[in-house]
Symmetry: C2
């Protein structure tokens, strides 16, 4: 199956390119919904909304679940009301809610009226997309503490099986308060007449409905959970986040960190085929931030114009010091941003981290500074120039390491995203310091150059 996937995908694309919808349809139906989603995800909206109703309703619902949220919403908005209502009914409630939230309001309310699961979906629409409430599913297998294991197994056999694959069952009281959780394995492996309350785990970890999705991901990853129950202030069970939602969150958060460190807006919806307008809106503002920084650097250099007018070759070397500082700063920045994202350090360890950067910055600074000095000496045969570049590089690398550590920590301290703007700040400041250091030293010792 796996080896033919690529060729089937290619054949589907070719069929669609030749407008042979029937063949495409036929091939598409042989695939897993995740691959069906891939196959149609880069076609035009028109083709997509034409293909979808020809899949089985279960498959079409699964395809919508596997597509990007904004793409799914775009297709949904093109589908006839009755077809869309049917598909949304078949989707996992949390995913259906995400699509409804992305539709125009009047279309969403019209669809909701036609849906049989609107009662389940409506409460989900209250929660923000990136909170526990927005990520949770509400179709949860629940039990009461007095039931026996055999009673539970019979009960589960009778109750309509739900779509999400729950490994845990949730034990609640009449008031819907969460009392404990029970793995299917314990249910099966304990004697038939065991009471649930005797085998359930009541030292479980839960999250609040308003918690940030990143916190939920961190809990699931830290404690190796398969799912995380979501409760309100009265510890009433509202929903469950499962591990598969969390894989998405972890990938999204990593994408956002990568973007933030690369002078992009930290928006995980941005990808290589995002609309050009969105692309520019996420890139251009940061280019302007960099432009601003570049002009400050230029202003600093302009203060040394008389020196450069006398010794033009300084212009050749001024960028080396600045550039190396930026690179060293980016290095410690990346390590610190990752440490904060993965909760690898606490604020009480800040001094330790800074002390280490001081050592590493000095050693790297010495190594690179000496290399610079030697290279410049051999190129231009100018000892003073070599010394000045070496010293300026050493100083800038030392400062860069500290900045790369302090700036994200400061942002975090003020409850901002540590990655956001860090990169622009670190490289902006190391540029300024690099130019200032090198050109000041050159001005000071101009008689030796």
């Amino acid at each position: 199956m796996k080896t033919n996937l690529e060729s089937t995908l290619n054949n589907i694309q070719n069929a669609l390119d030749n407008s042979d919808i029937d063949l495409a349809q036929q091939l598409l139906n042989t695939l897993h919904p995740a691959d069906q989603a891939d196959a149609i995800s880069d076609r035009t909206l028109q083709e997509q909304s034409k293909m979808l109703p020809h899949l089985t309703a279960d498959n079409a619902a699964a395809v919508l679940e596997h597509l990007d949220e904004d793409e799914a919403a775009n297709i949904a908005s093109e589908l006839p009301l009755d077809i869309l209502a049917n598909l949304l009914d078949k989707m996992e409630p949390d995913e259906a809610a995400d699509i409804l939230l992305d539709l125009y309001e009047d279309k969403a309310s019209q669809v909701l009226k036609q849906m049989s699961s609107s009662e389940i979906i409506l409460p989900l629409l209250k929660h923000r997309d990136d909170t526990a409430g927005g990520r949770m599913t509400t179709q949860i297998p629940t039990l009461y503490p007095e039931m026996t294991t055999s009673h539970c197994i019979t009960y589960l056999r009778k109750s309509k099986p739900d779509k999400e694959h729950h490994y845990y069952l949730y034990v609640i009281d009449q008031n819907n308060t969460l009392l404990g959780i029970l793995g299917l394995r314990e249910l099966i492996t304990n004697p038939p007449n065991t009471q649930i309350k005797d085998i359930m785990n009541n030292d479980f970890i839960s999250a609040s409905v308003d918690d940030d999705q990143e916190k939920c991901a961190r809990l699931i990853s830290h404690y190796n959970l398969m799912s995380l129950p979501i409760v309100n202030d009265q510890t009433q069970l509202l929903g469950v986040i499962t591990y598969d939602d969390i894989v998405e969150v972890i990938e999204d958060e990593a994408t956002e960190d990568i973007y933030a460190l690369s002078n992009l807006s930290a928006d995980s919806d941005l990808d290589v085929f995002s609309p050009v307008k969105m692309m520019i809106s996420k890139r251009l503002p940061w280019l302007y931030v960099n432009l601003f920084g570049a002009f400050i650097s230029a202003y600093v250099i302009s203060k040394f114009e008389p020196t450069i007018a006398k010794i033009a070759f300084l212009a050749i070397f001024q960028s080396i010091v600045a550039g190396l500082g930026g690179n060293a700063g980016t290095q410690s920045l990346a390590i610190m941003v990752r440490a904060l994202a993965l909760k690898q350090l606490t604020f009480r360890q800040v001094w330790k981290a800074l002390g280490r950067e001081l050592v590493i910055g000095s050693l790297n600074g010495l190594a690179v500074g000496i290399s610079c000095a030697i290279l410049v000496y051999f190129w231009r045969g100018n000892t003073a120039l070599g010394l000045i570049i070496g010293i300026a590089t050493f100083g800038n690398l030392l400062i860069a390491g500290l900045l790369g550590t302090i700036i994200p920590l400061t942002l975090k301290y003020f409850r901002q995203d540590p990655a956001l703007a860090s990169s622009a700040l670190v490289t902006g400041i190391t540029d300024i310091i690099g130019f200032a250091l090198f050109l000041s030293l050159a001005t000071l010792y101009i008689s030796y150059l």
Copy 2:
């Protein structure tokens, strides 16, 4: 429980700082193993190896599982043989194998002799850490196709429950060939006399034992799997990778991409408290790569020394064009690296991606180029200089967008890590082009400046 965690962790640290091991021990025992691991993870090796034997063996084993692999191996090497053997026996086999692989060979073989689970562990030691074989667990619940559901439930009750939480059961023949998989839910919800072969899923997705861990993570995330069976060439079942191993892989891969894009060696073992020697070995080589790039740029600038000698203020502006190009290139690089990591594009979409970059690069180039020209005009009142900077910026941004797309794709095409060296290449080339473009234009139109 959650709200007190931070204060308990602080109290443990204070107790340890005051060498009050008893109190620390007592507090530690109230915590979840994941938090116990956090509490001891930044202590000295001496303290760690002293604390661990005082925990219950189950907890100590769980702590080793939750620690970083290299940290766990360090502690393990300090523990007495008998204690270590007992702890490794209680760990998940794949995690125990990872620690054994990190120990000195003679210590590892001595420990293995004392372990009761050495038979399970030995085959795992053959596989590389970052392959499916290195990540899989071999303790798998298996069934035969002719069993009935009630037979299976009785069988599972009798067999010793294993440590990993398996949601799926694996159906094999006498030859250990994997025939199908069955969720615990299907086992429970189907009538008691149903045969397994009638309800098992035989259209399952599996991976080969030599597959890269990243491929396994991609399969699990793409198909929303809870676990992935690992087979050999004869489709015999060798092990299973569960979702929690994959969360780790996804986080590691994201860390490596972030590092590679930030001029660091792509090694997820590197973190904020890695040994100074390791820190320098992962940073310094890339600083030298950048140094090399910086000297090429300097050489390019040196070709224009006569121009700069005549018009010193060119040195003020030369870095603006180069810097903006680097930033724009980093932007498209980040988007492309992420797209490749998350499999958001295929090679047949390369031209589409490049076409889009051409449009986006032109539009951003126009916006930033015009802004540059205006700013320079108002600052220096020099129309020709403004025009030259504007045109050079436009050109460099256009080229930067294309480079940021082509370089990672090329690396990928040659089966290299697309993030590796991309950043140094993109900024290196945009620097050179930026300086060359600006200074050539200035030399050409020197009479207007």
